[in-house]
Amino acid sequence: MNQETTPSADRQAPSVRDLKARLPQHPSVKSTVALMIPCYIDVFYPEVGVATLELLEKLRVDVVYPFDQTCCGQPMANSGCYQEAHATEELFVKNFADFDCIVTPSGSCTHHVRDKFTAAPDSAARRKVSASVYDLVEFLHDILQVTEFPWARFEHKVALHNSCSAIRGIGLASMSERVHDPVFSKPKNLLERVPGVQFCDFERPDECCGFGGSFSVTEEAVAAKMGYDKVEFMHNSGAEYIVSSDMSCLMHMQGCTKRLGMDLKVLHIAQILNGASQ
């Protein structure tokens, strides 16, 4: 009988100690950090990439943007098409294997590279890349342990959305189903350091928004209904902004709010932490 694999959704957040062991502590981060910009941010939300870069620079991190990067392979792999993801994942390994730390403003891409990066054959380089990737929030919260964003101020009501990859994949926040676990939220911890941010509680806070990668078009009707319900809960809470560390969820929810004519804007957490005022 095979050993049961530990379900990743049940995995506890990586301990701060483990993460810190991999990198010297801020402000003496000696390693160069590779910035990975997800494909949909590159094309549709370049300002989120810029905010991520500027924020890391403000925090005196030495950042390099490998120019030949494209995508982590998730769009294909998530659709079952791992053969089609093979070359893209190999390219990713080639672009990023030289770095001890890869930072990306996406819990979803982080989860893919860390836990589901199996389209290309196993290799030392692949394993290194999987072990070196961090979501931006993890990097700020656990490694740099940033407690101040002196340049930031955001005088608005915010509905904080954590993606399912962020919550149940990489442990950025506690999971509502795990009722005995301590409640925590790393994105919230960071945003609480920005003066002016008012959090709005809304119904079903960690229910999936309905994006789900290719699901958002293959199951368009259900995806849209989930999105409509999600943004309605947020709108009812009085929020002016939906803030998330995953732009793909925001792309989906923005599509919903615009279609519904709802006055509810979206911002990536990097934009607020970098000092966006609206």
Partner: protein, 465 residues
């Protein structure tokens, strides 16, 4: 049989907003109750671990415990049958009934007999079959299969039920009061139980050390159909075995809390022997289970105790309705079970999920459901069961995204209708994104181009290939 198109069926279910909203609210309430119930049990997570380990142990020694069950049950006076597949199961049931001249069978809940399509088999051979549990009966009268494994008719509103009963029983179709409808049900099913010469139930658990069958119910019909007629048949899937009575304590505490948030059901009944002067038959059914046990990635699905917590928490199930899956088992557990029966027919089910992982977290026996859904997608690729249009789009996406130069060209010409992004997503139902949502607009320039302009020295590192 053709490939089940869950997405299309879900869209049809949602057309009339009433039903989608009704189901979503009802099941979310059960999810909330489940959370509250789990909160009241401090050792909840330890119970889940324990339940998972007991199931894993039992499945690892299945032959041993099945034989133990058989010998103990026989010693109790039960007649034990073994059925390799659905057909053999149905033949056994038919033979038991026809040998004794039974022309009417009263049934209480059994998903296994749904799996085996036992009712149709018997009715084609002249034996009437009547469901006695409320949800199953409503579905039978409406000529629909169950849409949920705990509440088979939960997708129906009380008004729908009133209409079904009015048609079948001539009751008041305007009266959707649940107490009234329950009264109509009782008045019409109790005579069936009295009249039937045989009763049939499923089993929640079969205890190896005692040879007992355990059913966990609320309405008590399992007890009636098991005790009123002299002949009783019980169909049991191989995976229902638990080693000892003491292990039930773990499962009973988890089952109802996970299913409905109640601490326990009205009836937890242990059946060990035939009633006086009666006969009790137990049919142990494989129907694909032993081959599933041999599947490296998918055997943990056999731990399932059919609580349906994964359905209640699933945001896709709640909007889609259970009938959209076109299968005996639906929702997250259905997605990982059904392809083991027919990989082609259910090849699209693994894509009816956002992989959000909530199902895995609520599962009382810790089945890694969402990871298995992901793994089934890969199996569909291996089996050549990815839809052609999707496959073609993914080959194109894979070529562009693995080639920096091609990717740059595609990204630079990013027009929502032309670009590969999100065309990798918009493939078969063209412009599907835009049906209910605005399409994202590309930025004035890509991040890549911004970086080259604004952090120019790094630009020299760009590939010249």
């Amino acid at each position: 049989m053709s490939v089940v198109d869950q997405a299309k069926a879900a869209e049809e279910f949602m057309e009339d907003q009433t039903h989608e909203q009704h189901l979503d609210k009802l099941l979310w309430m059960l999810r909330v109750r489940r959370d509250e119930a789990a909160r009241r049990v401090p050792e909840w997570e330890q119970l889940r671990d324990l339940a998972s380990e007991i199931k894993e142990h039992t499945l690892s020694n299945l032959a041993h415990y099945l034989e133990m069950f058989e010998s103990r049950a026989k010693a109790n006076g039960v007649i034990v049958h073994w059925a390799q597949d659905a057909h053999e199961h149905n033949e056994i049931v038919y033979k038991i009934l026809s040998d004794r001249g039974v022309d009417m069978l009263a049934k209480s809940k059994s998903m296994l007999t749904e799996e085996c399509e036992t009712t149709r088999f018997l009715e084609n051979r002249g034996i009437r079959v009547a469901e006695t549990d409320l949800g199953e009966r409503i579905q039978q009268l409406d000529d629909q299969p169950p849409s949920h494994i705990v509440g088979p008719s939960w997708h129906k509103t009380p008004q729908d039920v009133a209409a079904v009963f009015a048609r079948a029983y001539g009751s008041d179709k305007e009266n959707a009061d649940p107490a009234y409808l329950a009264g109509v049900m009782r008045a019409n099913t109790r005579p069936i139980i009295v009249e039937a010469k045989a009763g049939m139930t499923g089993a929640n658990f079969a205890v190896a050390e005692t040879g007992a069958i355990v059913t966990v119910t609320n309405e008590g019909n399992a007890d009636l159909v098991a005790n009123v007629p002299k002949l009783r048949i019980c169909s049991v899937g191989l995976e229902k075995i638990v080693p000892k009575t003491e292990h039930l304590a773990v499962f009973i505490r988890l089952l109802t809390r996970s299913a409905t948030g109640y601490s326990i059901t009205q009836y937890t009944s242990h059946f060990r022997a035939p009633r006086q002067g009666g006969e009790m038959h137990v049919i142990l059914v494989d129907n694909g289970r032993s081959s599933r046990l041999g599947m490296e990635k998918f055997w943990p699905s056999l731990k399932c105790i059919r609580c349906a917590a994964c359905m209640n928490t699933c945001p896709v199930y709640r909007r889609s309705g259970g009938l959209s899956y076109g299968s005996t088992y639906m929702g997250p557990i259905g997605i990982i079970l059904m392809p083991t029966f027919d990989a082609r027919r259910y090849s699209e089910l693994p894509f009816s999920s956002t992989l959000n992982g909530s199902c895995t977290n609520v599962c009382p026996v810790k089945i890694n459901i969402h990871e298995q859904i992901y793994a089934w997608r890969e199996v569909m690729e291996e089996k050549g069961q990815i839809q052609l249009a999707k496959k073609v789009a993914m080959i194109a996406a894979g070529e562009v995204l693995s080639n920096p130069k091609l990717y740059r060209i595609a990204a630079a010409s990013a027009d929502p209708s032309l670009s590969i992004l999100p065309r990798f997503a918009i493939y078969n139902r063209l412009n599907a994104w835009g049906k209910h949502r605005e399409i994202p607009q590309p930025g004035k320039e890509t991040f890549h181009d911004w970086y080259r302009k604004n952090r120019s020295q790094a630009g020299s590192k760009e590939s010249q290939q």
